[in-house]
Amino acid sequence: MTSQIIIDPPEDGHFRNGVATKGLTPSPTTLSLRLTINGRDHALEIEPRVTLLDALRERLHLTGTKKGCDHGQCGACTVHVDGERVLACLTLAAQVEGRTITTIEGLADEDGTLHAVQAAFLEQDAFQCGYCTPGQIMSAVACIREGHAGSDEEIREYMAGNLCRCGAYPNIVAAVRQAAQELRS
């Protein structure tokens, strides 16, 4: 989609997606987007209301990013946009066109070598059912990068947006602590 500068509202009050029109063109129901995910470009035809989470899971079949609450309360859908952790369930796919998106599938090296946070989660047994784990790991990578993993107390505060219904919190904190130490050294 080409972004447009709207100078005047259209006379008929109708907007076509992405374009302010003066004619009677009805609103099309789909947008054509290009999203950059894990270093690859993807073309998509979607309704404007499609969230980044649904685009990832239902259209691009990148199902590592999980749908928990779908209301921004659980953190299971955490991904990185331009290197910062955000919630894919409250982000419109259309909004992140032109941004750099990283999901759990893009974290390990090409040769399959796990990211230090992934390895630490395995070593510390930082999960039980595993459903929240991709979100926990994406959040932890950013938490360490932000410099908010300096103590267990700080890790708990800055990882609070990722809920774990199995209650693996002590091991999650241990994994983040371990990965933070490894990434610093």
């Binding site: 509202p9 947008l31 969230t51 921004g72 952790r85 369930c89 409250l90 708990r156 609070a160 947006g161």
Partner: protein, 327 residues
Amino acid sequence: MRDFSYLRADNIEAARNAAALPGAMLLAGGTTLIDLAKCGVVEPATVIDISHIEGLNAIDVTADRALIGALAKMSHVADHAEVKSLFPAVSEALWQAASAQLRNMATIGGNLMQRTRCPYFRDPANFPACNKREPGSGCSAIGGVTRGHAVLGVSEACIATYPEDLAVALVAFDAEVDLGERRLTVEDFFLAPGATAEQEHDIRPGEVITAIEIPGSAAARRSTYIKVRDRQSYEFAAASAAVGLELEGDGRTIRDIRVALGGVATKPWRARAVEDALKGKALDEATIREASELAMQGAVDHGANHYKIALAPRVIARAILKLGETA
């Protein structure tokens, strides 16, 4: 979520033009808009994405004032070195709000536009009556479960609590919101429900928040934000206080004090009665506790939220005493 047209505005004039259209809503961080659209509370015909407008996310802080662009992210303002040193209550209010992910998404302008978390407001399918959603339909909260509802600034139409933290600190330090043609204090920007619960903000069609400005002061430099809640993190306030303190040269007489409350009122609530009672007084615990009680003048509870009337003055007093201990 109902479908909508999506339109991207690349500059502020375009955003203003589009914001004037019937059924149009602005999209910045999306954390409130997309959530409430999924709840069926808002049904925009057109979503105007303003998040790509350049130059609206600047954070410029001097000793005289903090000027924060409407699209600055909560996380960036919270971590800003000069905000931390010159306006600590603002930084503390921000990092204690929401989660790290939400703070990376939510903007300062959008934060001011955040709606109440009243569970009746958020659930139109089960609770059709809500004067905020549908003027004249009634209030499901009154007579319902009210543990989280407001005790200050309430009316017979609405008792929904203003849930956020940042604006509480902004109100304490006389911050202003820039709407382009108009400029308002943040305190006046928020409206108590009265008989028009559906109007939460003094913002008109075609107006877009471009920035907030916080005047610098000695009280802002020596300030804190204390938030008491049902769990330690990632939770809305049961009661919170933004407090700033300036002492006379003797180190114990209060020259200036600012007090604002969150989690207990229908809008970010400045507690001037507390400030007036303490100016010129010695920084003494009994005096502080007595004055803090004045914040609850006119409080009205609905049963389960009665505890807030006892809690809020204690949060104020704790914040003042904490500041008194810091030299």
